[in-house]
């Protein structure tokens, strides 16, 4: 009986080893439309280019859950590559979950924009996204040009904002702080908080569900803030009901980083995938597909796609140091809860 069992065990081991040698790279990243478009623009071309490597997309609704999964698998990782938000990547790096992505992993690293590198984060930026105003084109006839449109009295009760601690809320605080003429957001955002406080009574919900895009597309709300890439996609799928505007005052970037999991089972194959994901070829494809701005400076993008990203307005962008923000984020959240949300009750 023991003999038979050991045969079974070795058979299983062989199966496991052989499947590993067929080179599967497990990637964790956002579910939903991100998965759909990333698979089409990056993963499928990659697998065509490297027929020996299969990329498995292990989707998660948000960065925090990816971090949670990586934590749970720390002793025996099942995931090789993780695409997640830069501040969550910092936490993962601090906990020793990731290996450094440098030029030894990918030659493309040297071509990345400077803000694709963050101090103390093992991974590097793979997509840039930015906050935009989104609006229902039936209710808002002319495209807003300024963030101040949100404070317009005629949209009272029709504005939806995803509050802090979500990074939409955090980013909005930093933008509002600049609008209100406040100082360095790393030390004091009280001017921005006060400005959002004025907006608070007219806010319909601070926690739009299922996301900020659907209620605006279906007319439940008129105006809100959202991420450019997703807004561009929903603008198309909603048949133009959802409008996207990048205000003239500029915006702030959100950075997704690509990270190599420490002791990743796929080894070299994982590095190959990261290299590809950072290549101008993949970057251009994903930008045309989903309108995330590229992080590789060598990327060449068609003009019409480029117009729908913030890549043309780099100079207007607030340079947000997300690692500094991570340190003050709890304070910002607390101010939202004490000085903004109560004003809207």
């Amino acid at each position: 009986m023991f003999a038979r069992l050991s045969i079974a065990v070795s058979a299983l081991t062989i199966a496991a080893v052989s499947s590993a040698s067929a080179e599967t790279v497990t990637l964790t990243a956002y579910s939903g439309i991100f998965q759909e478009h990333y698979t089409k623009a990056v993963i499928e071309p990659f697998m065509k280019k490297y027929p020996d490597i299969t990329v498995q997309f292990y989707s998660m609704p948000n960065s925090a859950q990816m971090l949670g999964t990586l934590r749970a698998q720390k002793s025996s990782p099942q995931i090789d590559v993780a695409i997640l938000d830069v501040s969550v990547a910092k936490a993962g790096t601090d906990e020793g979950l990731f290996d450094k992505v440098d030029e030894s992993v990918s030659a493309n690293v040297k071509d990345l924009y400077p803000n694709a590198h963050a101090e103390g984060v093992a991974g590097v930026g793979v997509t840039f996204d930015n906050l935009v105003i989104i609006y229902n084109t039936d209710q808002v006839k002319t495209a807003p040009t300024s963030w101040n449109a949100l404070w317009d009295k005629q949209y009272e009760g029709k504005v939806i904002i995803q509050a802090a601690p979500d990074i939409q809320g955090t980013t909005f605080t930093i933008i509002s702080n600049k609008l209100a003429g406040g100082g360095d957001y790393k030390t004091d955002v009280s001017a921005g908080i006060a400005k959002i406080g004025e907006l608070a009574p007219g806010v319909q919900t601070w926690d739009p569900k299922p996301d900020v895009y659907a209620p605006i597309a279906n007319g439940q709300a008129a105006l809100g803030i959202g991420w450019n890439a997703r807004a561009q996609i929903y603008s198309g799928t909603s048949g133009g009901k959802l409008g996207v505007a990048l205000p003239e005052e500029g915006s702030g970037f959100q950075i997704n980083t690509i990270n190599l999991v420490k002791n990743a089972p796929a080894g070299e194959a994982a590095k190959k995938f990261i290299d590809y994901a950072l290549s101008p070829e993949a970057q251009a494809a994903f930008t045309s597909e989903m309108f995330y701005a590229p992080t590789n400076s060598k990327t060449v993008i068609a003009q019409d796609a480029l117009k729908r990203t913030a890549a043309d307005d780099m100079d207007k962008m607030i340079d947000i140091d997300w690692l500094a923000v991570a340190k003050v984020r709890d304070g910002i959240t607390e101010q939202w809860r004490r000085r903004i949300i109560p004003l809207s009750r």
């Binding site: 948000n62 925090a64 859950q65 971090l67 949670g68 501040s87 969550v88 910092k90 936490a91 601090d94 906990e95 009760g157 995803q162 509050a163 601690p165 979500d166 319909q204 919900t205 601070w206 926690d207 569900k209 439940q220 690692l323 991570a326 340190k327 984020r329 709890d330 959240t333 607390e334 809860r337 004490r338 949300i341 809207s344 009750r345």
Partner: protein, 293 residues
């Protein structure tokens, strides 16, 4: 060993063997409970003493900082009290709307009763998410409820994305649980006893107050315990209907665990919910003893 058993009188073997069977039967559920419940709770308790680093990191530590910080922070004190008050409010509202239905069902008989019971339970076949979206549609600014209120000449109040919405939504969602608990506790309510009260000169109201209500207290206690526990731990409806304005323990645990990544704080809040459950259970058993005593 076998010889020793032969010497033993037959009767003496029996208790030990039945005890053995009992242990064998209890073992699987005990194991499942240990792995699926007790172990995670211990992990959670341990996590609540770790140190949270900015940006979502966790440092292994043994500090009471999460606990003391929580209990010194006026925001969290308010949040805890608010959670308890809102849950009590929901429990009371659920009781008030469910009681007449449960009483009617208790008195109904035959196929009619079966039909009505199925009708009462049927909402449980639909997920709370779907039902909550239903309420969002009903209570929307231009929704049917607002239109009815407006047509009566009143300014419709805001009924969604605030505490009112959460209370309305959860009350409806918890009604089947309350009705079933009430019916389960209505066993002592014999219609003959009500008739006895009537013939002894009690008006319908006094019959209710002096006889029906006291006899249904066990059901009320059970339903209230269940609904309180379900409402304080419910997350979906407050999240969908609260509009980010209603801060409750369950939604806060989600935010801390998933958005802020402050797992130690989330664990501390979870332990606090567990403590509130324990308190609710203690109150329940006390009330039950009072009723039965």
């Amino acid at each position: 060993m076998t010889t020793a058993t032969f010497d033993m009188p037959v009767g003496a073997q029996k208790p030990s063997s039945t005890a053995g069977i009992a242990v064998a039967l209890l073992l699987p559920i005990a194991l499942v409970n240990a792995i699926g419940f007790i172990l995670p709770v211990f992990n959670l308790a341990r996590m609540s003493f770790n140190e949270a680093l900015p940006g979502g990191g966790i440092a292994e530590a043994f500090t009471a900082a999460n606990w003391t910080g929580l209990l010194q922070d006026s925001f969290y004190i308010e949040l805890i009290l608010n959670s308890i008050m809102v849950s009590l409010g929901i429990t009371l509202a659920t009781l008030l709307v469910s009681y007449p239905i449960a009483l009617y069902l208790h008195r109904a008989s035959g196929a009619w009763r079966t039909f009505l019971t199925v009708l009462v339970i049927s909402p449980l076949l639909t997920s709370a998410v779907v039902r909550t979206y239903g309420w969002i549609a009903l209570l929307a600014e231009q929704g049917p409820v607002a239109n009815v209120i407006a047509s009566m000449g009143f300014q419709p109040p805001r009924m969604m994305f605030n505490t009112t919405g959460v209370v309305i939504g959860l009350t409806e969602i918890l009604m089947p649980y309350m009705i079933l608990s009430l019916m389960a506790g209505f066993g002592r309510l014999d219609p003959k006893v009500e008739e006895a009260a009537r013939t002894l000169g009690a008006t319908p109201f006094r019959t209710f107050w002096r006889v029906i209500l006291p006899l249904t207290l066990p059901g009320i206690a059970l339903g209230c315990l269940l609904c309180f526990v379900l409402s304080i731990s419910s997350f979906i409806t407050p999240k969908l209907m609260g509009g980010g304005r209603v801060f409750l323990l369950a939604t806060e645990i989600y935010d801390q665990a998933i958005v802020t990544l402050n797992w130690p704080l989330a664990a501390t809040l979870s332990m606090l919910v567990l403590i509130i459950f324990g308190a609710a259970l203690a109150v329940y058993s006390r009330v039950l003893r009072m009723i039965e005593g």
